[in-house]
Amino acid sequence: MTTQSTTARLRSFVEGQIELSREILHAAQKGSMSPYHYVKPFLLRAADVGEPPLAPTPHKVVYTNGKMRLLRFEPTVRKHATPILFVYSLINRYYILDFLPGRSLIEFMVGQGFDVYAIDWGTPGSAERRMGWDNVLNVLVKNAVKWALRLSGAKDLTMYGYCMGGTMALAYAALHPQGLRNFVAQATPVDFHEGGVFAEWTKPNRFDVDALVDAYGNVPIELMETGFSSMAPVQRMTKWLEVFRRIDDPDFVTTFLGMEHWASDNVQFPGEIYRQYIKDCYQYNNFCNGRMKVAGQTVDLSTIKAPLLNIIADNDTIAPPKSSEILNTIVSSTDKEIMRFPVGHIGLSTSSKGPKQIWPKVAGWIAKRSDPWTET
């Protein structure tokens, strides 16, 4: 071994250590609570993989309002005239629906010939502090529907809500049924008194949501992270051992890091809508019982008549099956179905079972109730 190659190796090692230290220091300076930011630099180097290629499906931004963006994912070969509009939650980022190449629900639907749209709520800041149900549903979601229909040239669309996005989309569908052809509710909590640990933790006698919003405005990222970590505090740390054991499996490492990237990509929760969400849903269950009001109008889920697909994850601890099942007994739709899959809350969008077992069934249901596309 020559002196030159030893020197080169030594230099490369020192540079690598400096870069590693810089990344960890940066994470510490940002005050990151998630172990992801501290462990990732080691894993990328140990597994010799790059950053996970999240949100791989090409898209255009076709409408913006404040931080909200409406994204269009156009198919190469369009087969269905009825577009799909994904409404994601205000918690974490939308790209869990466009996870990784080959494991993206949006990519799958685009591949099936649907014109797909998705609402990206962005990173809420001070300007979103006072945003309530009225602004979100009667302005932002309404405009998203309007632009999706206009751009796709369709008269109605399939609304696809996920988690809290499903709750918001159901409220929208109850208030504005025009332009909705079908409704898909994925892991959507409806009966919040069956909402698992979150229902326990947010009871009115022990969680003063008014004090939180008055104190901070938007709900801080740290509080959101703490809430989710508290569900499984031990596993938050020990799950990393599995990726240590499989460090020589680059696909596993990439998928794991992709999931952890998304889980740690928290955003502030706009204050006013958080107040309304906790009170109307978790604390008083107004949403389920037809007592929730938006700009003076009652949200009555029994007015929903569109065909409904209710997708439930059997192992869901965030939207437990019992909290979602009730939806089919409340709506007035005659064409309604429940599909159950043996995965968790996030697994419906990211599991390896997705492209093989889950999404073909869902796409088939939607396709059967969509107009065929004819070139004009």
């Binding site: 404040g66 206009r150 969680f207 499984a232 031990v234 020589d248």
Partner: protein
Amino acid sequence: MAKKEPKLLTRVVKGLGHWLGPETPTGKAFVAAEKGMTKAFDRLGGSERYLNLVGGALSRALRARAAYVEAQENWLHLFRLPTTTEMDDLREEVRDVRNQIEALSYQLENVIEALEKSRALAQGGEAPRPPAPGSAATDRPS
């Protein structure tokens, strides 16, 4: 092709995972400890007493902070300086105005389209086709 020799870091990481894995004695002890801690946290997370205690402490801390923020704003008022609440009020007004302008412009577009349609029909021609999806007329963000 000869298999590449794994890096030192790869071996250390894999070794750590294996050492704490279910196959080794240390790993078995670790897994047992993990199960025990999980059980303890699950019991704690469902304990009414604990939740009421933490909830009460959190509420008191939040109310104290809300009172601090209010005191800050009162102090700023003394010096006639804008407060966060006033900035939020302003942002809300700006958002309302922006939404109203957007709604008005959409209504105006509908009126113009309707006028063009009726003019074309009055001239005995075909009604103009609505702008195609993705065309410049429709494909613009707000």
